[in-house]
Amino acid sequence: MKFQISLILILLFTFTFVSAGLAKDRFKETREIFNWHCSQCHGPLGNGKGINNNKRLPVSPRDLTDGSDMSQFSNEDMVRTITKGGPSNDLSPIMPSWGNTLSKEDINNLVLFIRHLCNCKFDPKLKQKRLEQEGKVKP
C-alpha cells in the first residue's frame, strides 16, 4: 500500500515539474514572438512606446500594461483583433492582421501573455460602457 502511494506521489511530482517546465518554455517563446513582431509598435515592455510610435501616427499604439483600459477586451476579442486586424473589432486599421503569419496556438499564447502584462481580467461592464459611449449600443 505504502509503495503504491509513494509511486503515485512521485508520478505527480514529475508531472507537475514537466508541465511547469513546458509552460516556462512556452512563455519564453511567446515573449520572443512579442519582441519580434509586436514590439515594433507596442514597445518591448508593451507600454505602447515602440520605435514606430511617433506624433504623425493618427492613432498611437495601445498601452498593453494599462489594466483598467485592457479589461474592456475579452480573450475572444483579443484573438480576433490579432488574427483579423483592428477593423474586425472596430479599432484602427493600423493594427494589421497576423492570422497568416502566426499560428492559432501562438496567438492564444500571445493573448495569455498580454493578460500577464496588464495583470487584469475581462470586465463586461466596461465593454458595455465603451460601446454605449461610441453609440453602438443603446443604453
Binding site: G50, I51, N52
Partner: protein, 250 residues
C-alpha cells in the same frame, strides 16, 4: 553493280561521320559554354569572397525559415534575388556611398546606423554587375505593366490601401500628401525600409511577387503576410496597384 554499291555505302559512311562530327561539335560547344559559365561564376565568387561580402551576406536561395532564437545569428540580408530587387544604377551609387534604408540596425530593434563598408567607383561597378545576375527564375518581368501615366483608378485604389485599409506607412517611412496638409509630409516608422526613394531603388515586379509570396522571399522578416486566401486582404489587382504606387515615390 559492285561499283554502285560501294559508292552508296561510301556516301552513307561519309554522311554518318559528318552527323557524328556535328553532334560532337554541338556537345563540345555546350560543354565549353558550361565551362565558361562555371569559370565566370567562380570568378564572381572569388571577387565577392575577396571583398568579404560573404561574411554577412548569403547568395543562395530561397532562404529557409529560422526559429526566432537563431535569427540573431543572421548578419545580413540574403542577396539571392538582388537582380530582381534592386536597380543597377542604385546599387552602383549605394555601394560607393552606403546609406542605411531604415532607422534600425538590421535584424534588431536598436535605433542606430550600421556602417556598411564603401567601395571605390570601379569596384562598385564590377560588384553591381555581378549582383544584377542573381535572379529568381520564378519572377517574370513585365507582370506589372509600365504605364506612361498611371491611370487614376489604380492610383486611387492604391492610395486607399496604402493610407487607410492596410496602412503601410505605420512602419515604412514615406512622403505623402494628406488631406489636412497641402504639401507632402514625412510619415512613417523606423523598423521597416523607407519608401522615400523606392522608385529609384526597387523593381515593380519584385514588389508584386514579394506581396504575393512573402514566405518565399522574406521568411524571416517582421512584415505581416498579406494576400492569403484566408482573409482576402489583398487581391491581385490590389498588389499591382500597390507596386505601381510604391514605384511612384521618387
Amino acid at each position: 553493280m559492285k561499283i554502285k554499291t560501294t559508292f552508296f555505302s561510301l556516301i552513307i559512311i561519309i554522311c554518318l561521320v559528318l552527323v557524328s562530327e556535328t553532334r560532337t561539335n554541338s556537345e563540345g560547344e555546350t560543354i565549353k559554354q558550361r565551362n565558361n559559365e562555371i569559370i565566370e561564376m567562380k570568378h564572381h565568387e572569388n571577387q565577392l569572397l575577396s571583398l568579404g561580402c560573404t561574411n554577412c551576406h548569403t547568395f543562395q536561395g530561397p532562404s529557409k525559415k529560422v526559429p526566432l532564437r537563431e535569427r540573431k545569428k543572421i548578419k545580413g540580408p540574403n542577396l539571392w534575388i538582388a537582380g530582381n530587387k534592386y536597380q543597377k544604377k542604385y546599387l552602383e551609387t549605394w555601394l560607393q556611398k552606403p546609406t542605411p534604408v531604415r532607422g534600425v540596425i538590421w535584424g534588431t530593434m536598436i535605433k542606430g546606423i550600421f556602417k556598411h563598408p564603401s567601395l571605390s567607383a570601379q569596384k562598385a561597378k564590377a560588384i553591381s554587375s555581378i549582383l544584377v545576375d542573381f535572379k529568381d527564375p520564378k519572377i517574370k518581368n513585365g507582370t506589372v505593366p509600365k504605364w506612361g501615366k498611371i491611370p487614376r483608378r489604380i492610383l486611387r485604389r492604391a492610395r486607399i490601401l496604402f493610407q487607410k485599409k492596410t496602412p503601410c506607412y505605420s512602419c515604412h517611412k514615406v512622403y505623402i500628401r494628406k488631406t489636412v496638409y497641402r504639401t507632402p509630409i514625412k510619415v512613417g516608422g523606423e523598423s521597416a525600409p523607407s519608401f522615400v526613394n523606392a522608385g529609384e531603388r526597387l523593381n515593380p515586379d519584385f514588389i508584386y511577387y514579394f506581396l504575393k509570396n512573402p514566405k518565399r522571399y522574406n521568411p524571416n522578416g517582421r512584415m505581416p503576410v498579406f494576400g492569403d486566401k484566408a482573409f482576402h486582404v489583398l487581391s491581385e489587382t490590389d498588389m499591382v496597384a500597390l507596386s505601381t504606387y510604391i514605384m511612384s515615390f521618387k
